[in-house]
């Protein structure tokens, strides 16, 4: 069934609720004297997939942690659905889920218990209803056979899928992904990209994806932002990204391997 642009559909109950947007206003963050984010501003529209790219250490993951309220800004503001992201009440009002780079699955629990933790802790439904929801989430990610396995028994790709399934059980209005395709083979990377796009198409979940993966950005993003040295140096559509004016962005997206004049030698000087 088609879905309106400004609503999110719950994957379990099919109930529709308003989709949420995110606004980052003049955000700066310093750790000691090191400034990780420098006056970053952008807005993510309700229901869109926003991919945030940039070299390692450019502050992408730190920015993601600000959106979910795990870090406090040095200056500036992050709002989720027009509410301050640093306030605990925001996390109660807006259902948001973060898929961590390494999965962050609870190693002492089975896959089933990992997924069931959120509804159990928040007392959402009976044990039978929780089971139905968990199995449905596992089914969406083709993980039915992994329910009783422990995270240590899973491959990297399966861990990422379990992490997405766990996030899905939270019935999120906002999904945040931290490097969802890193350390995966190209096929598994494409699978994860398809999952993110499907969640958007079918349930209209607002998604913010932090990634190095150019293919992912070009294939599934509605808009792309590029962070370099803590500054937002590009904000546009994937089409605009294909012909960048800034040579740093062009080099980041299409790095040429130069054996005669290698980059690490240039860095030394």
């Amino acid at each position: 069934m088609p879905i309106a642009a400004d609503v999110t559909r719950n994957p379990f109950t099919q109930i529709e609720s308003p989709a949420v947007g995110v606004t980052v206003e003049h955000l700066s963050k310093s750790f000691g004297t090191f400034e990780v984010l420098k006056d970053v501003s952008f807005a993510v529209k309700p229901g869109e997939i926003f991919v945030l790219m940039g070299p390692s250490g450019s502050g992408k993951s730190v920015l993601l942690k600000h959106i979910v309220g795990l870090e406090l800004p040095t200056s500036g503001k992050v709002t989720v659905d027009r509410r301050d992201a640093t306030e605990e009440a925001t996390r109660e009002h807006v259902r948001m889920a973060l898929v961590f780079q390494a999965g962050a699955l609870f190693n002492s629990m089975t896959v089933y218990d990992n997924l069931a933790l959120y509804p159990r802790e928040h007392r959402i439904g009976t044990e039978a209803e929780i089971k139905e929801k968990v199995m449905h989430a596992l089914q969406i990610l083709s993980l039915e056979n992994a329910a009783q396995k422990f995270p240590s028994d899973l491959s990297g790709g399966m861990k990422k899928r379990v992490a997405i399934a766990r996030a899905l059980v939270m019935e999120p209005q906002l999904m945040l992904y931290d490097e969802p395709t890193s350390e995966l083979d190209p096929v598994m990377g494409a699978t994860i990209s398809e999952i993110i796009a499907t969640l958007k198409d079918e349930y209209h979940v607002t998604s913010i994806v932090v990634s190095h993966d150019r293919d992912l950005a070009l294939a599934i993003a509605d808009r792309v932002g590029i962070l370099m040295g803590g500054k937002l140096v590009f904000l546009g559509t994937p089409a605009e990204l294909q012909a960048p004016k800034d040579p740093r962005i062009a080099d980041f997206l299409n790095p040429k391997i130069d054996l005669k004049n290698p980059r690490f030698k240039q860095l030394e000087t």
């Binding site: 309220g69 973060l98 962050a104 699955l105 190693n107 802790e121 007392r123």
Partner: protein, 250 residues
């Protein structure tokens, strides 16, 4: 100066964690499974080593007391000495030291690993406070299990002293005489004071170990450093608290 800042920061975060955890006490009934699991880990699994150590501490106390008191003909008071020493001081302190080494280190290692591998962050994004799920059930279990462990340590220590008093040739005091002396000079208040000490030590150790674990940053090396810091801090805390609690109970 930096070290002082770190100590004050640690103290502040421990007090905050204490208030947060106490605030979640009403959720204990629905976390009963976790509470029982922690009772098992803190109490049942620590019991064998508590029994072995307290038996030998009671035995050594009786042996040393017998050796010294024989010279001035006061052997008949060995029971009182062992009884009072175990109940007021050695029982609770020994149980606390074992708790720090065995349970405290395990708690810090577990929570530090969860922090380093972002499991704590995952809990927070799920709006599940770590103080509610990971700290409060452990503190509640400690409150219940510490007196039990201290009573068992006392009983086994007294029993160890009785056996040594009977079978050591230069002491040779029968158990009825030993226990009569133990009862004559010991009051319920002595045992109670020891249990209060055990309670205070246990609570402080688990709280400090949880806080250090939850504030770990870095990688596997920092997990090891946190465990060492938790055990050393706990041991210092036991001895410092021992002085103040003893003075307060006098």
């Amino acid at each position: 100066m930096r070290q002082l800042n770190r100590i004050l920061e640690g103290f502040g975060s421990t007090i905050l964690l204490l208030f947060r955890s106490i605030g979640y006490l009403p959720t204990l009934p629905r976390q009963f499974g976790r509470f029982i699991e922690q009772c098992y880990l803190i109490g049942y699994t620590t019991l064998p080593i508590v029994a072995i150590l307290s038996f030998f501490i009671g035995s050594v106390l009786a042996l040393q007391a017998g050796y010294s008191m024989e010279n001035f003909g006061a052997k008949q008071f060995i029971g009182s000495l062992v009884g009072l020493s175990m109940a007021r001081e050695l029982g609770p302190v020994m149980v606390a030291i074992l708790l720090a080494g065995r349970v405290g280190s395990a708690i810090t290692a577990e929570l530090a690993s969860m922090k380093v591998y972002q499991e704590i962050d995952a809990l927070m994004t799920m709006n599940i406070p770590p103080a509610r799920m990971l700290v409060m059930p452990r503190l509640a279990a400690t409150v219940v299990m510490m007196p039990v462990l201290a009573i068992i340590a006392n009983l086994v220590g007294w029993f160890g002293g009785a056996i040594v008093s009977k079978y050591t040739t230069f002491i040779s005091i029968d158990p009825p005489a030993y226990f009569a002396a133990l009862r004559r000079f010991m009051e319920f208040e002595d045992v109670l004071n020891g249990l209060i000490k055990a309670e205070v030590f246990g609570f402080a150790i688990v709280l400090v170990c949880c806080n250090i674990g939850l504030n770990t940053r870095g990688g596997p090396r920092e997990i090891g450093a946190s465990v060492t810091r938790a055990v050393v801090t706990s041991l210092i805390l036991i001895l410092v608290l021992d002085y103040f609690v003893t003075k307060a109970l006098m």
